[in-house]
């Protein structure tokens, strides 16, 4: 009003505005459309990016400078809808959008799938916030023959619509510029028209689908991995290659190099000779004794577990980014249904092979409370994490193939049994198996390197201190005679029921802290010849089924409450010891020697 002659398009944009807090911008969109990539591009902060729906299950915040203004960027879990029956990760996003904590919404869409994105757009419109629509992966959409009239769509909706290829940084500058032009959606949808009808009409008007120019190989691979005749051999091949990388290269070659070479030949003798100058025997032992920080704690964490988790994280990253893991859901759906879950549960279960703690959080993608509880229970019970898995392979691979098969057979049988019973005893329902399969893609080396590097760093930051604390604890227990007391007290169980040497009790104590720490202890016991083959199989089976590590337990408590946490802890411990006892009895009765 004060400047009647200004032409509308030339009105200066307010770059600096006084606010009580930075402008809060939420990235919202369907699952697996690239919200986290855009978040990383805007804020410079890396959050895990993968090629499956449900990588992000919690809100992440970061700062970005747009023009001269500092903004809070919020990355959210993917949603297919904001109304109706939502899973817990979807509720996180809905609550954020509804609460007013997001002042501006950047809807990220997979350009291939305009119709579905627009269905969400029409639901976002109901909240009346300034919105921008980003059509991400526009290159893939074009390869599939999808052509979108971006300008027409922007004019119709009354909001900026931006084409982007976020992984390459294309469209990001345009997005930053457009942030000042965000507006609430025009008009919205007329009464009586459903979101689907509206989206159908919009997609029809602004999108044309021509012939596909998708790579033949990509198309072939996507089909080959999901059809049983080709898919099952591929699955076996993938498992075998994983075993070669983690079980052989990681657990044998690299561990050998680090443990015998670096630590055995150089570091430990060097630390010992250095420590010899320390006049106090107590301090000397604390550093380089049997339970020494260097000779035990560091050696376990760096020489035995680190090579294994590193190779595992690398292989796992490749599988995550390729889009392969969700396709396993098709094969496993029937089995999971018998356990009160559905094929979607394959995601947290496979993620559990990386880290059960993270996987416990990923159970948020499951639709009903019953499914989440069963999945959390099965993760705590039977799914061995990467480090544990590889120590298992390291020990039993040297015994025999049958030993390995016995362990996995028993563990899988117990999981199915417990799942089967839980499905019938626990109240509630399972949900339908309806799952989106992301396109198969060649993993991007940059993302793979960043992700693996960050995970290894996370492992070192998370595990190394606990290994050291655990070692200090063992040292203290040993000094005050506590280890002997524990060994004595648990003798009826450890030696009587399980038929293990009393020293194995120590390893189980370590397993309470971290299962991989316990497994590493077992690795050394087996190598020093302190375990017979039968004992190794029994001990590792118990360790695999044994209590979740401290971090996992805390995550269960955080997600499901203390009562559920304690109940799972108690149940799993009894189950593990009971199974071990039966297995020990059976193996001895039939004089199995492996």
């Amino acid at each position: 009003m004060s400047c009647p002659h200004a032409i509308e398009g030339l009105t200066p944009k307010p770059l600096l505005r006084l606010r009580a807090h930075p402008l809060r911008i939420a990235l919202v969109g369907n699952p697996n459309v690239g919200k986290s990539v855009i978040f990383g591009r805007l804020t410079g902060r890396y959050v895990t990016v993968s090629n499956y729906p449900g990588t992000t299950v919690a809100v992440t915040r970061g700062r970005a400078t747009v023009g001269a203004e500092v903004c809070d960027i919020i990355d959210t879990p993917g949603v297919n809808m904001l109304e109706g029956a939502l899973s817990e990760d979807e509720k996180v996003t809905r609550d954020l959008v509804a609460s007013g904590n997001a002042e501006l919404i950047v809807q990220v869409a997979d350009a291939r799938n305009l119709r579905r994105a627009l269905m969400l757009t029409s639901q976002i419109a109901a909240f009346g916030r300034p919105t921008i629509l980003v059509l991400n992966m526009i290159d893939e959409a074009r390869a599939r023959g999808v052509d979108i009239d971006t300008a027409g769509l922007a004019a119709e909706l009354g909001i900026p619509v931006i084409e982007a290829v976020a992984t390459e940084g294309r469209g990001l500058a345009e997005l930053r510029e457009a942030l000042t032009e965000a507006a609430p959606l025009d008009g919205g949808i007329a009464a009586g028209v459903t979101h689907l009808q509206w989206a159908d009409e919009m997609a029809h008007r602004f999108r044309t689908i021509g012939p596909m120019s998708l790579g033949r190989f990509q198309e072939w691979l996507g089909r080959a991995v999901r059809e049983p005749l080709t898919g099952l051999p591929i699955l076996i091949l993938v498992l075998y290659l994983t075993y070669l990388a983690v079980g052989v290269l990681g657990a044998q070659t690299l561990v050998g190099l680090l443990e015998d070479g670096l630590f055995g030949t150089w570091l430990n003798p060097w630390a010992r000779s250095l420590a010899a100058h320390i006049p106090i025997a107590f301090v000397r032992d604390f550093l380089v004794g049997d339970y020494g920080l260097v000779t035990m704690g560091m050696t376990y964490a760096i020489a035995i577990v680190l090579p294994v988790v590193s190779t595992f994280f690398l292989v796992f990253g490749i599988l995550e980014d390729s889009g392969y893991i969700p396709r396993l859901a098709i094969f496993s759906d029937r089995i999971f249904r018998a356990m009160g879950l559905n094929g979607k549960a394959v995601l947290p279960m496979v993620l559990g092979l990386g880290c059960d703690t993270m996987a416990t959080m990923t159970t948020r993608i499951l639709a009903t409370p019953k499914e989440r509880l069963i999945a959390i229970l099965l993760l705590a019970l039977g799914v061995p994490c990467s480090a544990q898995l590889a120590t298992i392979m390291g020990i039993l691979g040297g015994v025999s193939f049958w030993a390995l098969l016995t362990l996995f057979g028993v563990v899988v049988f117990q999981m199915i049994l417990v799942g089967f019973l839980a499905a019938r005893l626990l109240p509630g329902d399972r949900s339908d198996f309806i799952m989106e399969l992301p396109p198969m893609r060649l993993p991007r080396l940059g993302n793979l390197a960043t992700k693996t590097g960050l995970r290894v760093r996370w492992y070192l930051g998370e595990a190394l201190p606990l290994f050291l604390v655990g070692t200090a604890l063992l040292f203290a227990l040993d000094r005050v005679g506590g280890l002997a007391v524990i060994a004595q007290a648990t003798r009826p169980v450890v030696s009587g029921l399980l038929g293990l040497p009393p020293k194995a009790a120590e390893v189980f104590v370590m397993g309470f802290l971290r299962r991989d720490y316990g497994a590493a202890g077992m690795f050394l016991m087996a190598r020093d010849g302190a375990l017979t083959h039968v004992q190794a199989v029994v001990a590792l089976t118990v360790m695999t089924l044994f209590v979740p590590c401290v971090a996992n337990f805390l995550m269960i408590v955080k997600e499901r409450g203390l009562r559920v946490g304690l109940a799972i802890l108690g149940f799993v411990t009894v189950m593990a010891v009971g199974t071990g006892a039966v297995l020990n009895g059976v193996l001895r009765f039939f004089h199995v020697a492996f």
Binding site: G84, R115, R116, V146, D200, A329, I330, G343, D432, L437
Partner: protein, 79 residues
């Protein structure tokens, strides 16, 4: 049964079949709602890609895996 000619349950269709969704059966579960959120609703075009061990369809450039029960709630007019 759905009365008209040429309309089938998705779960009864062979791989390779193409058609348009004419109806998604509503019941007390959020099934129809979840499907709609994925773009699987009346009017949508689909292609059946696979029927075993689970049903896989393509709808709107996206592959979706469904269990049989879900497929039997979706009615398709073949093209």
């Amino acid at each position: 049964m759905w009365p008209s000619e040429g309309v089938h349950q998705l779960s009864a269709l062979p791989a390779g079949a193409r058609g348009r969704i004419v109806r998604v059966k509503r019941d007390l579960t959020p099934r129809a709602e979840r499907l709609a959120a994925l773009g699987v609703g009346p009017g949508a075009r689909i292609t059946v890609l696979q029927t075993f061990p689970g049903i896989v369809i393509e709808c709107d450039q996206t592959e979706l895996a469904l269990e049989r029960v879900v497929g039997s709630a979706i009615w398709i007019a073949l093209e």
